[in-house]
Symmetry: C2
Subunit: 114 residues, 2 copies
Amino acid sequence: MYIKDYRDLPLEPSGVDGLTVRWAINASQGASNFAMRILDLEPGKSSTMHQHDTEHEIFVLAGSGEVESDDGVHPIAEGAVLYVAPHESHQFHNTGAEVMRFIDVVRFPLILPK
Amino acid sequence: MYIKDYRDLPLEPSGVDGLTVRWAINASQGASNFAMRILDLEPGKSSTMHQHDTEHEIFVLAGSGEVESDDGVHPIAEGAVLYVAPHESHQFHNTGAEVMRFIDVVRFPLILPK
């Protein structure tokens, strides 16, 4: 069985300023349907506003901020669960003083818009 | 967008003594491929040893214990990520003093053995 402390996983750049990613479970562990990532968004930083064909299932592990979507801006904090539907626009803002860390489960293949 | 503090979700019996479940994301939120559950295993309790056709992707939120599988018994604690492959036997034991709480992402449909 694959077991790993997520803090021992390499922190990789995501391509977005202030957003780093740990790939917790993906094809390397045998997953073929959905992957688990752990994202860190630095204070004052935002992800890009985007949408894609596949859904996100998210759990906020630490920190606080906002998520912006077609239906407005919503506060989120540690303990929040989010379902981002396919084609639903979404952008995360870290408005807090600490890193906003969240588990992000995504269906294969996650094809991000350019 | 669906956003919910997981602590506001009802804690439901799982059918296993000492194991309760919060359904964080499933078909009610529009999910059609995989679901997110949050499981609480009481100190001294174990889930059943079982296996099924679908994988688990797990993140341990709190507590400590062990997971037992075909390849032995492994310690787990807060921050552990686990990939349980399809048909891989698995049983969780809470050997700690506090509730072991974990996020469990499962593919639809999760059909448990009787």
